[in-house]
């Protein structure tokens, strides 16, 4: 983190009429980093990307690339590759012509164009398709062509706007892997917009979680998943149980809270709070442990199983604790439980996190 940030958003806002889509947003991205902008639709992530590409002008604030302000540079001079969700391939040009398009605009010699087009087609594993028209390719192949067209001119930054949204699940996973590989091999700086949290978790170096035009939290996938700071992030990333509790005592790493039935639990908190503050406890389903007795469980609580569903690689259990319904993700090797069984649940203090409601 000692290096100079490559891309920098300084207090950037974008207002459409009476709607503030991006709100005084600060964000820095380092060279070679893979940053995902994750959020629900309308949270401003795509608008931010469009401002970086130059298709939208910020209402206020500055966007910097390599230390110089980019605001007035038109998109065709920014040297940023954009991969669109609908691929935006030119339907009247063949695959090779599509990929050669940015090179021709840059006045690259014919022989070199041919060579670079072939090289990049190998890179995205699409040789022998160069003469076809985009309409003759499958969705996944079109996406690879769009990627090749972006990579071929070695852009400063690759911007991807939900590029895998239109692909089916298997293809999407394959493309996620391929994009990661290209990122690593070519040392690309990638800004990746998505509303799919698992995609963001899989691919990113860092994730910026967007909500209402602001960044709720930014950090590594582990940070975001294991240590959500806000209610929104905890609910948006993965699945979680939110238990209303009161803050009791402790510092910002280890503290204790009281449930509404008066039981004290050892948990972690990102901040120190006043005693009695009403907060939520975020507990991921996979962090709930199950036992026949309280022995060997931290934060043990008596519970009753309402339902167990077989999910292939795991069991999903609905559990009731003091009238609060929780979801637990249990290992399939566990002894079978039936609805109505009285059990004990527990969790480790580092896995439960205090969140302000």
């Amino acid at each position: 983190m000692t290096e100079q940030p490559y891309i920098e958003f300084r207090k950037v806002s974008k207002v459409f009429g009476s709607l503030t889509v991006v709100d005084h947003l600060d964000l820095t991205i380092n060279k070679g980093e893979f940053v995902s902008l994750l959020g629900p639709s309308g949270s401003g992530k795509t608008t931010l990307l469009m401002m970086l590409a130059g298709f939208e002008d910020p209402t206020a604030g500055d966007i910097l690339l390599g230390g110089s302000v980019l605001n007035r540079t038109p998109p065709y001079k920014r040297n940023m590759g954009v991969v669109f969700q609908n691929y935006a391939l030119f339907p009247h040009l063949s695959v090779a012509e599509n990929i050669a398009f940015p090179l021709k605009r840059r006045g690259v010699a014919k022989a070199e164009i041919a060579e670079r087009v072939n090289r990049v087609l190998e890179m995205v594993q699409l040789p022998d398709q160069s003469e076809k028209l985009p309409s003759q390719l499958s969705g996944g192949q079109q996406q690879r062509v769009a990627l090749a067209r972006t990579l071929v001119f070695e852009p400063n930054v690759v911007l991807m706007d939900e590029p895998l949204g239109a692909l089916d699940k298997n293809l999407r996973e394959q493309m996620q892997y391929d994009i990661r590989r290209l990122h690593r091999d070519l040392g690309l700086t990638i800004v990746f917009v998505t509303h799919d949290q698992s995609e963001a978790l899989t691919m990113s170096d860092r994730i910026a979680v967007f909500n209402h035009g602001k960044i709720e939290q930014i950090g590594t996938p582990q940070d975001i998943y294991d240590r959500p700071n806000t209610h929104f992030v905890a609910e948006f990333i993965g699945e979680t149980n939110l238990i209303p509790v009161k803050y009791r005592e402790g510092d910002h790493s280890r503290c204790s809270v009281t449930t509404k039935t008066g039981k004290d639990l050892e948990v972690t908190s990102p901040v120190t709070l006043f005693r009695g503050t009403e907060v939520l406890l975020s507990l991921r389903p996979e962090h709930i442990e199950l036992g026949d007795s309280a022995e060997g469980l931290e934060n043990a609580m008596p519970a009753r199983i309402s339902d167990v569903v077989y999910q292939g690689d795991h069991l999903r259990a609905d559990i009731e604790v003091d009238g609060t319904k929780l979801v637990a993700r249990l290992g399939r090797h566990l002894p079978p439980h039936d609805p109505g069984d009285e059990v004990f649940i527990g969790f480790r203090p580092q896995n439960a996190r205090v969140i302000l409601p």
């Binding site: 038109p74 001079k77 590759g81 609908n86 935006a88 009247h92 605009r105």
Partner: protein, 391 residues
């Protein structure tokens, strides 16, 4: 078999009204018009015996006596004055002098019931040329209208020759029709293409307003719009007053009864036919292709030339063809707004059809217009088929 035929017949019955309508009001008039342009039944029907013998005559002098006798018999048999009048008009239009010749001959025939030597009645009957005219006119079909539509005619040796310049101006008018249509097409393209691109790039209420701006004129009567232009284009009309008020000109620019006015009014009337096809093609394109081109390093002008223009080519082609084909048949606008030297081929057709009742000429010119339109359509079909093969 009947079980299969049943629904088929029912489906056919549904389109029957359409088929009947098209047959009665589209196909039949066209066939009738085509027939008018080549039919020449007057002489054939009235001078039937003469026609039968003339068909066998080799055209060489001397004129066979049988032919002369047949003509006398035919004239004697025709008691209806109107019928004979039509024959005389037909013959006189092919060779002037027939009117007096025929009047003289009929008077002579009426005087006696016996055989008559036509050469004695009038010595013109001794000349082969007059008989040639009768022989040429005696066929029920003729190409004289079609030839005349293109400023051609047949000389006394029955050879196709160009008519003298003062005799007809159809080719000049056809060329003028093409020039005006081409100008209208180009100005529609110059206005329509950017406008269609603007509509396609907008959304919501703005798009509806812009679309309405194109469609609204289409819902107004052509006559009303032309009349409105008639008023606007006057020397002291809206345009000229505005130009003078702004100090752009001192004197009114002549717009009414001028080519410029005709082109302005026709461009306005035909603009929707250019905008709508281009718009629909643009609409089927992903909206962010221009953004993509821009992000790939293309200046907006280059992006337009390399992406937008080739992709809207099909819309431009169909729009241009629609405008061109509509404008070569235009009648009301040039008739009201244009001067005498701006009249298009339709005005000539209207003249023959409504003023001189020369259905043959009207039909022949109509046929020429129809052929040009069909030819253009075939060319367009070829072009768009090739495009489809590539795309």
């Amino acid at each position: 078999m009947t079980a299969r035929l049943g629904p088929h017949l029912k489906a056919s019955a549904l389109v029957l009204p359409l088929v009947l309508f098209l047959a009665l009001f589209f196909v039949w008039p066209i066939i009738a018009m085509l027939k008018q342009s080549v039919s020449d039944p007057v002489v054939h029907n009235t001078l039937s015996q003469t026609s039968a013998i003339a068909a066998q005559w080799n055209g060489k002098a001397p004129v066979p006596a049988a032919l002369q006798d047949a003509l006398v018999a035919d004239i004697r048999a025709t008691t209806d004055r109107q019928e004979m009048g039509a024959v005389v008009r037909r013959l006189n239009s092919a060779k002037s002098g027939f009117r007096t010749l025929m009047r003289k001959t009929r008077r002579a025939i009426r005087k006696t019931d016996g055989p008559i030597n036509l050469g004695e009645v009038d010595k013109r009957w001794n000349e082969v040329a007059w008989w040639h005219t009768i022989a040429q006119a005696s066929s029920p079909y003729t190409d004289r209208y079609l030839l005349a539509a293109l400023d051609y005619g047949r000389d006394k040796h029955n050879q196709i020759v160009a008519l003298p310049e003062d005799a007809s101006a159809n080719r000049t008018i056809l060329a003028r029709t093409f020039v005006i249509s081409l100008s209208v097409m180009l100005s529609c393209l110059a206005i329509g293409l950017p406008f269609a691109m603007v509509i396609a790039s907008t959304s919501g209420w703005l798009r509806n307003v812009l679309l309405a701006a194109v469609l609204l004129p289409l819902w107004t009567s052509l006559l009303v719009r032309t009349t409105a232009w008639f008023i606007i284009l006057q020397n002291n009309g809206l345009i000229n007053s505005a130009l003078q008020a702004l100090g752009i000109t001192d004197q009114p620019i002549p717009l009414i009864f001028e080519r410029t006015g005709v082109i302005i009014a026709m461009t306005h009337v035909l603009l929707p036919f250019m905008v709508l096809p281009i718009y629909s093609v643009l609409l089927s394109m992903p909206g962010n292709l221009m953004q993509a081109a821009s992000s790939l390093g293309a200046h907006p002008i280059v992006a337009f030339l390399k992406v937008m223009l080739p992709l809207s080519a099909r819309g431009i082609a169909s729009g241009s063809l629609l405008v061109f084909m509509s404008s070569i048949g235009y009648y009301i606008t040039p008739a009201l707004i244009g001067g005498p030297s701006d009249q298009m081929i339709s005005s000539v057709i209207a003249f023959y059809a409504t003023e001189s009742a020369n259905w043959g000429m009207a039909g022949a010119l109509g046929l020429v217009l129809l052929s040009i339109t069909l030819l253009l359509y075939v060319v367009y079909g070829r072009l768009s088929a090739e495009k489809k093969g590539v795309a």
